[in-house]
Amino acid sequence: MTINWGGLGEVFIVAIVASVLFVGLFSVGIGAWTRRGEAVLNNALAIGCFVLCAVIVGYGIFAIAHK
């Protein structure tokens, strides 16, 4: 019996980095979107965040299909 502690640690690190990045970007996007009337920059920031989120989702689907 061998317990794959390294694999377990790897899962944790990948999962937390990916989640924090994705949720963080989306949250910044939402925050900026709710203030979109105040400055053009907010609008651009929101759209930029959502595009990056879409890229992460795309990678997620790719990872699901190719695992």
Partner: protein, 376 residues
């Protein structure tokens, strides 16, 4: 094509297991979206069913082993697989009746372990592998997903604290549709594979397919349809427990929980450290309760789930052992097990009608003051 009665019975039973797997696990993907109103209950199960079906076709990786090395596959036969499947189905139905999420993989492993142990002796069960592939991940996955979701939820609230609350809720609601769909897709690629693997290996063992064959299209289609039909019917009892029983969920929490669950499932499957979708999703929902300030997690409900997880493998093993032993007696034995399994299924359905949970009342907890009763 010459299929014996037992082989046909095994295939039908595998599809039945796949079906229970579907409605048992709808909650993993959709519970928080239904609870927050991001998707209406009917739409949610429909979306989940479609993504489960797509997922069944999407993954190129095929389950080459039924048991992941937990039992000696050289020593198992159709009767043992049949017994194992019956054990898994019975446990899935029982936990559904109690509204408890539990791992369908654990139920399948448990059923196979019990059936193999009785039919081929304890030597045929690799207990070291059981600890490595079942016990350790079961302990680790809710903790990993819980910590990840706690961090993600905390961040989601922190970064949007200045935002207008109604606008924020709307934004995360939209996000939840995407995150919930991803959980469903990941689930479909995982769980439909299990049934395909069981059916394919049964056909190989019967000599219908050559060794090492990939599942025929009909098997992929059948497994995908069975799991998505189960998903579409909706395991409303479990959806209610996960969506409403553990903690009050707002859209940022639901989004963070689903995103964390997807990331954890994907990370685990790419590293090759298989985690149960159920354990991950439940851990993520609890984490989303911990990560939001002043929100309350009902640890009593979480404790009941933990107990169910603890019993899943041994309980399915006992049923699997009895069913496998009886089925090994020949056609009469197989018929007895099949009739008993159908009777238990009908019984569970009739019992569920006493306190029906449906798309209409899934978001209403019967009584929050008495969470100890298994009324959900």
């Amino acid at each position: 094509m010459d299929l014996s009665l037992l082989v046909i019975v095994v295939i039908v039973t595998a599809l039945a297991f796949d079906f229970t797997n579907g409605f048992h696990d709808t909650a993993n993907a959709m519970a928080t979206s239904i609870a927050t109103g991001a998707l209406s209950p009917r739409t949610a199960v429909g979306v989940s069913a479609v993504f489960n079906l797509v997922g069944a076709f999407l993954s190129v990786q095929v389950a080459k082993t039924i048991s992941s090395g937990i039992v000696d596959e050289a020593k198992i036969n159709s009767a043992i697989i049949f017994g194992g499947l019956v054990g898994a189905i019975v446990w899935n139905l029982l936990t559904w009746l109690l509204g408890l999420p539990s791992s369908s993989s654990h139920a399948l492993f448990g059923g196979l372990i019990g059936a193999t142990w009785i039919a081929a002796g304890s030597d045929a069960v690799h207990f070291g592998t059981v600890v490595e592939k079942v016990i350790v991940p079961a302990l680790a996955s809710p903790i990993i997903a819980g910590v990840v979701a706690t961090a993600a939820t905390f961040l989601a609230y922190k970064l949007t604290e200045k935002a207008d609350k109604t606008e924020r809720a709307k934004g995360f609601k939209a996000g939840q549709i995407i995150s919930a769909s991803l959980v469903s897709l990941a689930h479909g690629t995982n769980d439909a594979q299990k049934t395909m693997g069981v059916i394919t290996l049964t056909l190989i063992a019967a000599g219908t397919l050559p060794a090492g064959a990939n599942p025929p299209l009909l098997v992929i289609l059948g497994s995908g349809l069975a799991i998505s039909l189960g998903t579409f019917l909706g395991g409303w009892r479990i959806i209610r427990t996960l969506g409403k029983g553990l903690t009050e969920i707002e859209t940022p929490q639901g989004f963070a929980a689903e995103a964390s669950a997807t990331a954890t499932i994907l990370a685990s499957s790419s590293v090759g450290f298989a985690l149960s979708t159920t354990h991950v999703a439940t851990g993520a929902i609890i984490g989303s309760g911990v990560g939001k300030r002043l929100s309350e997690v009902r640890w009593g409900v979480a404790g009941r789930m933990a107990v169910a997880w603890l019993f899943t493998l041994p309980a399915a093993a006992i049923v699997g052992a009895i069913a496998g032993r009886t089925a090994s007696l020949g056609s009469v034995g197989t018929a007895i097990v099949a009739v008993a399994a159908v009777a238990i299924g009908v019984g569970a359905y009739l019992l569920s009608r006493r306190q029906p949970v449906s798309a209409g009342n899934v978001n209403e907890m019967p009584s929050t003051s008495a969470p100890a009763t298994a009324s959900a």
